[in-house]
């Protein structure tokens, strides 16, 4: 029952496919044994206590054992095959989809002539493929399926949470305009901070551009939201809804303006430059002048606004 080596998946690169990892297998065997003993003892004792009110205590003990041992065996079996059940659960949606698809295909092929079969298939496949929004939706939801598996790979392969190797619960996923958003419930041993240092690796595993993590709940630190980005929307042109609420044919209402005529440098005479007087003019940069020739340097130039020739 060794439970030491923390690098449980290190160095597994052989061609064989193991459904249940060795460590998981071992700990599963131990867990199953413990579950059997605990269930058998507790259920057996409870049954014996209840039975004692009807029969002789020795008879009720035997009855308790008779009920406890089979219940324990059932629990042992459940714990023993749990890794397989978990695997089936992970792939349940895909399996169901595949079964449905195959069933539909077989039924169609059996009950319709070949030409009709092909026509139906062409329609079912062709119409979503031809209509862009539908195609995009299908693609987006497919990515949602894929990304949940990729996230699980991340957690299993390089984000080892705890000694028993329990993985976070990967909840539902939904498409966003830039990729997918997946909700995850962390198990003990992980925190959002641990994950933030590995965002680049998660992005690589998910075949994405970047991944962001945010807490999905203010009250529960275990409940996280993964935002997986595949597309950039910030380069898009964003229009304002204000344009839609107005009537563009509104009458023009602009107060008349006097346009200055001195629009080029030679048009502006040197003495008319109004210099913003600074506290310490000698150390400041004289770049800021509102020079456009129409305002004589009079009122707003301050008294210490000195000799213009200093500035030129």
């Amino acid at each position: 029952m060794s439970k030491s080596s923390p690098r449980r998946f290190a160095g597994r690169s052989t061609g064989t496919v193991t459904v249940i990892e060795a460590k998981v297998h071992r700990s599963s065997a131990r867990n199953a044994k413990m579950a059997f003993i605990l269930t058998a003892v507790i259920v057996g004792l409870l049954s014996a206590v209840v039975a004692a009110s009807y029969w002789h205590p020795i008879v009720s003990l035997v009855v308790g054992a008779l009920i406890g041992v089979p219940t324990g065996a059932a629990v042992w079996l459940l714990v023993r095959v749990w890794p397989v059940i978990r695997l089936l659960w992970w792939w349940s949606l895909e399996t169901t989809l595949a079964v449905l698809l195959l069933t539909a295909w077989v039924q169609l092929a059996n009950h319709t002539p070949t030409l009709v079969t092909l026509l139906v298939v062409a329609l079912v496949v062709g119409v979503p493929a031809a209509i862009r929004p539908v195609r995009r939706q299908v693609k987006a939801w497919t990515w949602c399926l894929i990304v949940r598996h990729r996230l699980r790979v991340c957690f299993a392969q390089f984000i080892i949470a705890n000694q028993s190797g329990s993985l976070p619960l990967i909840l539902w996923a939904k498409p966003t305009p830039v990729g997918e958003r997946v909700w995850v419930y962390l198990r003990p041993g992980l925190s959002a901070k641990d994950l933030e240092g590995r965002l680049d690796k998660i992005a690589v595993t998910c075949h994405a551009s970047t991944v962001l993590i945010e807490r999905a709940s203010e009250n529960n630190a275990a409940y996280l939201r993964f935002d997986i980005k595949r597309r950039e929307v910030l380069t898009a042109h964003v229009g304002s809804p204000l344009v839609d609420v107005i009537d563009p044919s509104a009458p023009v209402s602009a107060s008349p303006l006097t346009v200055p005529t001195a629009l080029d440098l030679p048009d502006v005479d040197a003495p008319t430059i109004r210099i913003p007087a600074q506290g310490k003019p000698a150390t400041k940069q004289p770049a800021a002048s509102t020079a456009n020739g129409s305002k004589p340097a009079a009122s707003s130039a301050s008294p210490e606004a000195d000799d213009v020739s200093d500035w030129i």
Binding site: D227, E232, V238, S240, D247, P251, L257, S300
Partner: protein, 290 residues
């Protein structure tokens, strides 16, 4: 709402019924979701290198405010053209004239103080939607022009001090401030003024340091730096608002035609401002400066 502004068109203009208490649409976030900003109870500082898209964001807010009922605009734009389209709608439009700017800020501070007295008399601490009091939105483009370039040192300091007063007082009495500048370092804006702005929008910067100055110390080290925005992607920014973590956004873009269309429509539908002492715009003054 109907209008009493005489119009030449044969249609009766209907206002879009916006309010400054509504969240303002400013663009989309990196997930393509719309981003709204509550400017009414927060002050917004936008900064970034020239051509980053600051004016786009400011014009969005200005456009929204112009279409809002019971909202007054006070616009500062030393460059004239960024906020110039809204000059006829604004209660005050200040061009490159710091004296006028200081006067307007003083008036705003008096209004703010009076409003707090009113709130106190009404046993309240904050202006709400149903109060019927106008929202006065102050928008400043190129804040650095007023705080470092125009006027004398004393005037600049006075401007900064008055603005600091308005920013710290205006929040709860319906007088939000939106300011834009290129680099809000201490030599451009006093740090005491900069830190009063609750919302920050950092458009493209050239260095981590500049980004930190806008968003606040430490964000660049955590990966939120406006220096990673592509120079060709105008309008992309980091927005530090609700949520407490900077978000990447893309500000909505209004073309010049859009801006003028919205301004014309807003002028058409606006109720006449009951500004006896305050002309809706004082064109002569800033035209003379031009």
């Amino acid at each position: 709402m109907t209008t009493t502004i005489p119009t030449t068109a044969d249609a009766v203009p209907v206002g879009p019924g916006l309010s400054m208490f509504d969240p303002i649409f400013i663009g989309i976030d990196e997930f393509g979701q719309p981003v709204y900003l509550d400017v009414i109870y927060r002050n917004l500082l936008t900064a970034g290198e020239p051509g980053g898209g600051k004016s786009g964001l400011i014009n969005n807010i200005c456009g929204h405010a112009a279409l809002c009922d019971n909202t007054r605009l006070v616009l500062f734009d030393a460059k004239l053209v960024e906020l110039g389209p809204w000059r006829d709608l604004a209660d005050a439009f200040i061009g490159p004239d710091i004296d006028q700017g200081i006067d307007v800020l003083r008036r705003l501070l008096v209004v703010a103080t009076n409003r707090y007295a009113w709130l106190l008399a009404n046993r309240r601490r904050k202006l709400a939607d149903g109060d019927g009091m106008s929202v006065i939105v102050t928008i400043i483009d190129e804040l650095a022009m007023f705080s470092t370039v125009l006027g004398t040192k004393q005037q600049q300091e006075e401007f900064s001090t008055l603005l600091r007063g308005l920013v710290s007082l205006g929040r709860a009495c319906g007088m939000p401030v939106v300011a834009a500048t290129q680099r809000p370092s201490w030599d451009i804006i006093p740090a005491s003024l900069r830190d009063l702005f609750g919302y920050r929008a950092a458009f493209r910067c050239t260095s981590l340091n500049s980004s930190n100055i806008i968003l606040g110390q430490g964000w660049a080290e955590q990966g939120y730096t406006a220096s990673d925005i592509s120079p060709t992607n105008q309008g992309a920014a980091y927005l530090l608002a609700e949520g407490g973590v900077p978000r990447r956004i893309k500000a909505a873009y209004l073309t010049d035609t859009d801006i003028y269309n919205i301004a014309d429509y807003a002028a058409w539908t606006r109720r006449p401002t009951s500004s006896t002492g305050t002309p809706a715009v004082n064109p002569t003054e800033w035209e003379m400066a031009a």
